[in-house]
Symmetry: C2
DNA sequence: AGTTATTTGTTCGTATGTATC
DNA sequence: CGATACATACGAACAAATAAC
């Protein structure tokens, strides 16, 4: 069964109608009329309105709250998150914020699979400390990160992180004075239910996923990392500094 | 109304059940039983099964095709998309593919708003050529890009791009021999309906959105750019090249 | 604090449209 | 063309969260 005159489903027309209402109001419309009234206004069943609202909510335009109403999503500006050779996820991350912080969610010892072994220059099966951490700024959770560290080289990394709340300091306790980011790969995914929970996000939120490998000054890998940043709250900024003229 | 014993909605249990079926089959399950059979198997109404399938499809796990069936989505590996100072979106982009290509979707003349004027070092209201382009590799659309060019400096950019299919060549026709990417900001969003259409994607797909500004060798901005890459098909790779040893 | 009204969320039922096989 | 299978649409009822009294 397809909608009124043309071959367009009715819920799509309703969705476009709602889009129009929002555009017409020009920012003045905070809350949508209730579903029953929209259904009456568009001359369709309440389910059809709900289908339209679901589509717009999936787009990020609306946010429906049970018992309260349906609201036009007004998103605050994202926090800029610089990424470069000197990226320190748990630290520089939220330096712009007044109260940055990190928290250890979980830590365990896992064997390296083929992919991790390749990234870290280890044999498959080598023991790795896996740390799951949450980074928070001004009380708002920004990202969940999983870091893998060679357990033989960094035997006390978990305790050091738990004590200092900083990867950089925990590495320093193992003799790493400085390190560099080698490469960052960025993708986008939907938040997993577990990550949505940690990030205090509705389950339909998006994650900016970045994979990276940090190396010591000798080029030896010391950490593989997978960070899921809340896409509504964070933007990644890559500064492509011009190459030094002298080096040609 | 909430499902059977605990406070979990039935469609969530059904979704978990389907997840289980897929996991249990371990890759051997290509096609799901039809909705009516799933409804019977889980003891719920067909609508409840459809709600569960919709959720899993939104997660990217399933793909429903009208008239054919519901299938477990097997996603091909993402194409790596290097981003750096010498990024040429319409070109390097898909060099890894056998048949890269670009297509002009739309072009028009727009006045610079405050944000664009700031990025491009122009006065607000200055005329800009806006080009909407689609980049394709091996027949698969990868990304939609919108580029803004100062119209006074690049009066014939639209014709030049339409003729050559390349931003770099179109700029060369205006005397730009080389240019650099200054900065890239990356976020994630849901695909807009229009972009989903262009990218031949289901409407619930995700976009990796990158904003960038290109400057000529004198540092003068020549292009502002907003690219929406299909998150399932593309990953952005940022290579944080080590500082050249020779230069100290 | 407790009760009621409002509003979105879930579930079932039924029927029909439309694409595929 | 008929059968199959997903998509759309309407109707009815109740659940659960919130807000108002």
């Amino acid at each position: 069964m397809i909608g009124g005159e043309d071959g367009i489903a009715r819920w799509r027309s309703v969705a476009d109608g709602i889009r129009g209402m929002i555009a017409e109001a020009g920012g003045a419309l905070e809350r949508l009329p209730v579903e029953a009234e929209l259904a009456a206004r568009f001359g369709v069943n309440r389910h059809t309105v709900r289908r339209a609202i679901a589509a717009l909510a999936a787009e990020g335009l609306l946010r429906a709250e049970r018992g309260r109403g349906t609201f036009v999503a007004a998103r605050p500006p994202r926090l800029s998150y610089p990424v470069g050779p000197r990226t320190r996820f748990s630290e520089n991350v939220a330096r712009a914020a007044r109260r940055p912080g990190g928290r250890l969610i979980r830590a365990d010892l896992v064997p390296a699979d083929a992919a991790l072994a390749g990234l870290l220059d280890l044999r498959p099966g080598a023991p790795l400390h896996r740390l799951e951490t949450l980074s928070v700024a001004d009380g708002v959770p920004l990202s969940v990160g999983t870091g893998w560290f060679p357990a033989e080289r960094f035997p006390a990394i978990v305790a050091a992180y738990a004590e200092t709340g900083s990867i950089t300091l925990a590495l320093k306790a193992h003799g790493i004075e400085d390190y560099r980011r080698r490469e960052t790969r960025v993708t986008a995914e939907r938040l997993s239910p577990a990550d949505a929970e940690l990030l205090a996000s509705p389950p339909d939120g998006l994650a900016l996923v970045s994979h990276g490998v940090d190396v010591d000054l000798g080029g030896c890998p010391i950490q593989a990392n997978r960070t899921r940043a809340h896409a509504d709250r964070v933007e990644l900024v890559f500064d492509h500094a011009p190459p030094p003229r002298e080096a040609g």
